[in-house]
Symmetry: C2
Subunit: 221 residues, 2 copies
DNA sequence: GCAGTACCGGAAAATGAATTTCCGGTTAGT
DNA sequence: ACTAACCGGAAATTCATTTTCCGGTACTGC
């Protein structure tokens, strides 16, 4: 994952490999629940490992976030493909993908290149572009079949997914919310995305630069 | 505003009074544009005054935020009353209020009492409760007239307004987004809130404790 | 005008919360 | 049993903010 074993050296120990898996699993869960700004300590706590262990496997927080993001995006692309194959119509496929994105909060993990810092790695860029293009294709279909309103595009939708509230907004101490905010808001959004849409959307649709800019400033990534 | 002039003392100087007005104006604008977490320095820059001046008039940041929040909520209550009087039906009044809330981002300024810190001042509590109750009444009407879906309540709606993206998500340097994210997302939400609603909303509606908890953890206030 | 107080600006100190380092103590694997 | 890998988590560092402080400025009443 980030650790290329030099050809002459000893192989990575089995427990270490397992720990990397645990870290990624914990990171996914924590990011989905509370947003990607949670501290590494939080991830460590959830994974049952120490912070030192995380830094042994990832050079810094950003690298961990990237890794998780790549996983999310690839997975979402797979869900999309499967939905297209399974579902009877484009609208059903679309809602299925949206629900998945909300579930894993994958759009929040949609890093794009930062202004004056490290570029996103090529794997991330590739996964991101692939997903965007797939989503665009799906939405095209849905719009042609007349189920998705015509005045939105993939960038709009991704940006909407991003601003869904995290699953749990608590501080770890409290019990969190009893209401499924994310789910309720997503459902309302989906109803609002149904064609034809009574409201006239203001301005023009979002663009790629808008998406990039938003993520750059919101996630610094 | 936070400075009670002791009865024997000199009255506040005219320029100082004007400065307080400037500060509140700048704070409102900046909070609406970029979210309430912006630094005091940002507010100072926008107001054309120094940070010291802000601290001369408000004991701390929290006090400034409260003051702005109270203003927003009172104003929103007024807009609501006016909308009720002017508009032909409850739905029009409802959308008008929603647009106003999105505009000033008043819901983001909906502070409620924090767990183990200073309570919100009584003026804030009163303004908050009044607005919530007014909104509840309006939504009741809209639901009875059959225009607003039946499975949402005022807490749900406020929580949705909260998670609208800020008007501008930039860092001050960049040009910001060219798209009106807030407006587009609000419109989609409004379409989704129209009765009857095709999607079944998951779980049950939000409650007052949910609202309180959300604000406590999100705004620490 | 002048005195005198209120006021202002913004550099600097205090805070706070996070990331990242470091190293003594463990453990897997041969 | 030996050793390189590995782990935990306290401590150091970093970074962005809030908040203080005080020399200098400018209202205001006389």
């Amino acid at each position: 994952m980030s650790e290329v074993v030099p050809s002459g050296a000893r192989p990575q120990r089995a427990d270490a490999r397992e720990n990397v898996r645990q870290i990624l699993r914990a990171a996914r869960a924590v990011f989905a629940d509370r947003g990607y700004e949670v501290s590494i300590e939080e991830v460590a706590r959830r994974s049952g490992l120490g912070m030192g262990t995380i830094y042994r496997h990832f050079p810094n927080k950003r690298a961990l976030v990237e890794e998780v993001a790549i996983g999310h995006m690839r997975e979402t692309s797979e869900v999309l493909a499967r939905a297209l194959a399974d579902e009877p119509d484009a609208w059903s496929a679309f809602t299925r993908v949206m629900r998945h994105m909300a579930e894993v909060r994958s759009s929040q993990m949609f890093p794009v290149s930062r202004r004056r810092t490290t570029e996103s790695g090529p794997a991330l860029v590739a996964a991101r572009d692939a997903l965007l293009s797939d989503l665009d294709g799906l939405m095209d279909r849905a719009q042609r079949e007349g189920s998705l309103r015509a005045d939105v595009n993939a960038y709009d939708v991704v940006l909407m997914m991003v601003s869904l509230p995290p699953r749990i907004a608590d501080d770890g101490a409290g019990g969190g919310l009893s209401v499924d905010l994310t789910g309720r808001q997503l459902s309302v959004l989906l109803d609002g995305l149904r064609a034809p849409g009574a409201e006239q959307l203001p301005g023009s649709a979002a663009t790629r630069p808008d998406l990039d800019e938003f993520f750059r400033t919101r996630f610094g990534i």
